[in-house]
């Protein structure tokens, strides 16, 4: 079984699915979403099957590996493989996609070709998301990294809100600018590697001896691209526009999954390929991360547009993820890896439930709401749960990861941690103020009666809340897979955990 190309299957199935959706005859265009949902569910099942092939104690960094020459003249291979971190991120993408398709069910009411394109693009995006986390060839990764922009660009630019063109262009320009800088670094890296027909493989580029300046420059090249993706302050400004103009389901795939490529890239490429430069840059990155944490939270408090508000909470949460990665302790690192997964589900819940409010009220503006707990009690309830996960309430998954990031960072950077902890108060403010303005207060008179969640929407909400709860009480389900990858990566970087201060004086 181990020779079965699991990861390629996960790439191809959604692509074939997208093709089928596009080629559906006119008469059955309305079936596009059904096909898309089916394909995404099949992919999910295949993904779970692939995950069962994964061994925690395999001893090699990547598993489920596949490698074929692609452009041997340039050293580019078609190489796939996952470690624990990549695997949980792929699983997250696989779980979120059918949920998003279900949530997007009525997003294109005009139907026809537009509806077919919409759902086909989602499947294409799914394939790219799997690929980008599974690529173990730096150049192949770069190609997917850029190719991902295409479906997202169209999902925002063609199906978004009023200012969709502006938002889509802004997103594209930021990403391309970051990507181009990275491309230079990618090519330079090849020259410092062993070269040859497989010269872009991650394993061949790990542990190189690179002149200090060159290593630092290449690190900066990669880091800039990832910082744009991970929306870090001050290159975050594309995110709120993109999130608010996109359909909620697109926003989920963008912020919840695709942006993880930024933080994932920091782990896989910045830390693993440029360990010394990573350590050199740590003070600056930690500072930027803390600024992102607090800045995102403060900006979220000041928003009146629900989608922008949620986008800014993500700026804050991505700050935590970067903080944990660059603290370079096993606890913080594992916490960040878990945070990437948890944030995906938490943000998905926020965006999608917010979307359910928006579709009912016809407005994204928080002041247009008030008293909706009486009108839609179930929706208000699940929205509150999503909000509580955003403020990292214990019992929900986000708490474990946020705590791990903080406790792991505290070991090395006490001041940065103390500052970042202030965000737990700010998070309570942005979540509870939003909930108060939307759900509490006198019951409003609405022009048309509004119904609570229907079956389809409940099917969207239930798995999200289930995951938030399950990973809150049993985070080891993910952590057991993540831990070996954390150990391996930190080993490449060459750092060890600080010993407890009191360890020397134990009786």
């Amino acid at each position: 079984m181990s020779s079965f190309p699991w990861l390629t299957t996960l790439l191809v199935v959604p692509l074939v699915g997208a093709l089928i959706v596009v080629l559906l005859p006119k008469g059955s265009a309305g079936r596009a979403k059904h096909v898309a949902l089916g394909v995404s569910l099949v992919t999910l099942v295949l993904g779970i099957a692939a995950a069962t092939q994964y061994r925690r104690d395999a001893g090699t960094q990547f598993q489920l590996t596949e490698r074929h020459e692609w452009i041997p003249q340039f050293g580019v291979s078609y190489a796939l493989g996952v470690d624990g971190i990549a695997l949980v991120l792929i699983l997250m993408a696989l779980v979120l996609t059918p949920i998003c398709i279900l949530a997007a069910w009525d997003d294109v009411p005009e139907g026809g070709t537009r509806e077919k394109s919409y759902f086909a693009l989602m499947l294409v995006l799914l394939a790219f998301m799997v690929g980008v986390f599974a690529a173990t060839d730096v150049f192949f990764f770069y190609v997917l990294f850029e190719a991902m922009l295409i479906p997202v660009y169209f999902l925002i630019g063609s199906f978004g809100g009023e200012r969709r063109q502006y938002a889509a262009l802004k997103f594209l320009l930021f990403s391309l600018a970051g990507g181009l800088v990275m491309l230079v670094a990618v090519i330079a890296l090849y020259h410092y590697g062993p070269g040859g027909s497989e010269g872009f493989l991650v394993e061949k580029l790990t542990g190189l001896t690179i002149p200090q300046t060159a290593e630092r420059l290449m690190f900066v090249g990669f880091f800039l691209a990832f910082a744009v993706k991970a929306p870090m302050w001050p290159v975050h400004t594309w995110l709120p526009d993109a999130a608010t103009e996109a359909k909620p389901a697109t926003a989920v795939l963008l912020v919840g999954v695709l942006d993880k490529v930024g933080t994932y890239g920091m782990i896989r490429f910045c830390l693993q390929l440029f360990p010394e430069a990573s350590k050199w840059a740590t003070p600056v990155v930690i500072a930027l991360a803390v600024v992102s944490v607090l800045y995102g939270a403060l900006l979220a408090i000041g928003q009146t547009d629900m989608m922008r508000l949620i986008a800014f909470t993500s700026v804050s949460h991505f700050g935590f993820i970067v903080l944990g990665i660059f603290a370079m302790t096993s606890t913080g690192f594992a916490g960040s890896s878990l945070y990437m997964v948890n944030h995906g589900f938490s943000t998905a819940a926020l965006f999608l439930f917010a979307g359910m409010f928006i579709i009912r009220r016809g407005s994204k503006q928080i002041p247009d709401f008030g008293g909706w707990q009486r009108i839609t009690p179930v929706l208000a309830g699940v929205f509150l749960v999503a909000g509580l996960s955003a403020l990292s309430l214990p019992g929900l998954s986000t708490f474990v990861s946020e705590f791990l990031v903080l406790v792991g960072t505290f070991q090395k950077y006490t001041l940065a941690t103390v500052l970042a902890v202030l965000a737990i108060v700010l998070a309570a403010l942005y979540v509870l103020l939003m909930y108060k303005r939307i759900a509490t207060g006198p019951t409003p008179e609405l022009p048309e009666p509004v119904s609570d969640l229907g079956i389809r929407e409940r099917l969207v909400a239930a798995p999200l809340i289930a995951v938030l709860l399950v990973l809150g009480f049993a985070p080891n389900l993910a952590l057991d897979v993540i831990n070996p990858a954390v150990t391996a990566t930190l080993h490449h970087v060459g750092v060890t955990d600080p010993t407890p201060l009191n360890a020397g004086s134990d009786k």
């Binding site: 660009y153 403060l298 791990l404 403010l429 134990d506």
Partner: protein
């Protein structure tokens, strides 16, 4: 950790028998909460009964475990129950487990017994509320979280319960969410508690950095050899957490507003149990505070300041629930002071917590009964003379009143007098400062509680025209009667032979006789004199003299006390206004500054690219094409170089 032997020779053994199903204590009410919330309208009719039964079931499990514990000798009463591997992330490993010892068992019995009584009371109190099911679901959620808080064997699991009770508190304060002021009160409680949580979470992080573990046993084992600076820092951070949850100075501002919640909630969460969690935290962390006199001193100061703060505020409030809330704050100040005194005080902090749980819950339920009969009126200036029409409420409330005053032989006498006595123990200036605060506080308490009692039940009727006060139904008065009996005799039973301090001694230490700087009989006499003076003053002003329906202007102190000694004004000036300005400023600069700078660059590139785009088809597809073309070009260049 199957068995742990501490310095005092206490053995913690693996849970067997009833204690091995200790997880049911949390699981039963948690199941109730989940079932009622998910079950929806289908459970409307009988959900409140299910919740009440589950709460009593938790009490039965607790009582059985208590009996099992009693069967052992005092050194073998501590059980540890392993639950499951919770977190294993890099260097951080933690099992979820429960610690059933004398301290947690005291809380289990208090929480499940008083909690169940209040469930019963709520059946009557919430009978006509359309959201009754949701109310009982939240009550069950609270009981489950509170039990998790006290049963956790590590600081992190404690924190889960800690936030769980905070969530239940938030949900119940804002239960009547259509009133914006109530929703705001819920938010305020949660946010102020989060400020305290900064302390608690940082304390846990510091423990991991210092000890490499965050469970009670490991931290306790390491404290002796740790650096004093870190131990003090951890102690102060824990205190900050305790201040938030227990509404202690300077994080007290949320408790008065929390009275927006239905009165049974005020009785259970904001009087008897949750708000005392800070005291539990300090006592549970006694090994840390014992190792740091500075941290202990800080606890004493917080307690002393808060007990006076609450007492002064209590004198000026006309809203019966807010007066009781101020009193709660003050009484917890007493507990906090006792906890800060170290081993001589821990047992009495918990003892007072227990008796207070009974008499304050009883009085809150009494206040609820009064409101029930008076169309939800809370202004005591509109009460008066209710003794004649609400006899049961009057008598049961009276028991609570005598108990909090510390009149012998009522419960408060046995617990509070001991705290006053302990506060006078020590050297130098400390016993005089803390002892005097505790003593003076007793006098003020007597005044404001008598004021409350007289304004409500004695004197002339000052009712609004449309009210027809009546006694509440039995389902409400029976819990009040049970609590009144507790207010009367619990202290006597547990205190006269020092039964309770002896029971707790293996966990919290103490026991050695310490002599206060003033003879203890003299102290007792002084306290009683002050209490009598307080009652007499209140009698003269609120029974002999007529109580005006409109509040008089009052002295400067009264005016200050009415607005809680300007706590909200201070918080607003120091934090909220600057915070709002900061947020607004950042929102503005994010659009104009950060986005402008980055966007200016983007516009430049965008302008250039739009020209390029016009050259081509004007479709954004060209970007993808251009990009691919670029990639091919670069590959070509590389090929040439190679």
């Amino acid at each position: 950790m199957h068995s742990l032997i501490t310095e005092t020779g206490v053995v913690t053994q693996a849970a067997t028998g009833v204690s091995s199903v200790g997880w049911l204590l949390v699981a039963l009410p948690l199941f109730g909460a989940a079932f009622l919330l998910v079950g929806g309208k289908a459970t409307d009719k009988w959900g409140h009964h299910l919740a009440t039964i589950l709460s009593w079931a938790a009490f039965v499990v607790g009582a059985a475990a208590f009996l099992q514990m009693l069967g052992n000798d005092p050194e073998h009463r501590s059980y540890h129950l392993r639950l499951f591997d919770w977190i294993s992330a890099g260097g951080f490993k933690l099992e979820a487990g429960m610690l059933l010892d004398q301290l947690s068992m005291s809380f289990v019995l208090l929480v499940t017994f008083v909690g169940s009584l209040i469930h019963v009371y709520s059946i009557g109190y919430m009978a006509h509320d359309p959201n009754r099911r949701r109310f009982f679901a939240y009550l069950n959620l609270f009981v489950a979280s509170m039990l998790l808080l006290v049963l956790a064997d590590s600081y992190l699991l404690l924190f889960v319960g800690w936030e769980g009770v905070g969530l239940a508190s938030y949900l119940l304060i804002g239960f009547w969410y259509t009133n914006p002021a109530y929703a705001t009160a819920g938010n305020k409680a949660f946010v102020v508690n989060r400020v305290g949580d900064i302390g608690l979470t940082l304390a846990i992080m510091a423990m991991f950095a210092v000890f490499g573990h965050v469970d009670f046993a490991s931290v306790q084992a390491g404290v002796g050899t740790a650096s004093k600076g870190w131990v003090t820092a951890i102690g102060l951070l824990l205190l900050l957490g305790a201040c938030g949850k227990s509404a202690q100075f300077p994080l007290q501002s949320w408790l008065g507003d929390a009275m927006a919640g239905p009165t049974p909630v005020s009785a259970l969460i904001h009087a008897a149990t949750m708000v005392t969690a800070g005291v539990y935290l300090v006592v549970r962390s006694g090994f840390i505070f014992d190792a740091s006199p500075d941290a202990r001193l800080a606890v004493c100061f917080v307690g002393a300041i808060t007990l006076l703060f609450g007492a002064i505020v209590g004198c000026a409030k006309d809203d019966i629930k807010k007066a009781l809330a101020a009193s709660t704050m003050s009484q917890i100040g007493y507990m906090m002071l006792a906890a800060g005194l170290g081993p001589i005080g821990y047992a009495f902090a918990i003892f007072h917590l227990l008796t207070h749980g009974f008499f304050k819950a009883g009085m809150f339920l009494g206040a609820g009964s009064v409101m029930h009969g008076m169309n939800n009126q809370v202004d005591m200036r509109r009460f008066g003379g209710l003794a004649t029409v609400m006899k049961i409420t009057w008598v049961t409330f009276g028991f609570g009143w005598l108990a909090i005053l510390g009149v012998p032989p009522f419960s408060g006498f046995w617990s509070k007098d001991k705290i006053i006595e302990a506060a006078f123990v020590g050297d130098g200036w400390q016993p005089w400062v803390f002892g005097t605060a505790a003593l003076v506080g007793a006098g003020i308490t007597a005044f404001y509680m008598s004021r409350l009692f007289f304004m409500t039940f004695q004197g002339k009727k000052r009712w609004s025209d449309d009210v027809h006060p009546h006694e509440s139904p039995l389902v409400m008065t029976v819990p009040m009667m049970v609590l009144a009996v507790g207010s009367a005799v619990l202290g006597l039973i547990l205190g006269v032979t020092d039964m309770f301090p002896t029971w707790l001694e293996p966990v919290v230490g103490g026991g050695a006789e310490e002599h206060p700087v003033i003879n203890k009989w003299v102290l007792m006499g002084l306290t009683l004199v002050l209490v009598i003076v307080g009652i007499a003053l209140a009698y003269v002003r609120y029974v002999r003299e007529a109580v005006p329906v409109a509040p008089p202007k009052g002295s400067l102190l009264t005016q200050a006390a009415r607005v809680d000694l300007y706590q909200d004004a201070v918080n607003e000036g120091l934090f909220m206004r600057p915070g709002i300005h900061l947020t607004r400023g950042l929102v503005f600069t994010d659009r104009k500054g950060v986005d402008g700078a980055v966007g200016g660059l983007a516009a430049f590139v965008g302008g250039a690219s739009s020209r390029v785009r016009r050259l081509q088809n004007g479709y954004a597809r060209s970007y993808a094409l251009t990009m691919l073309a670029g990639v091919v070009a670069i590959l070509g260049v590389m090929w040439v170089i190679n």
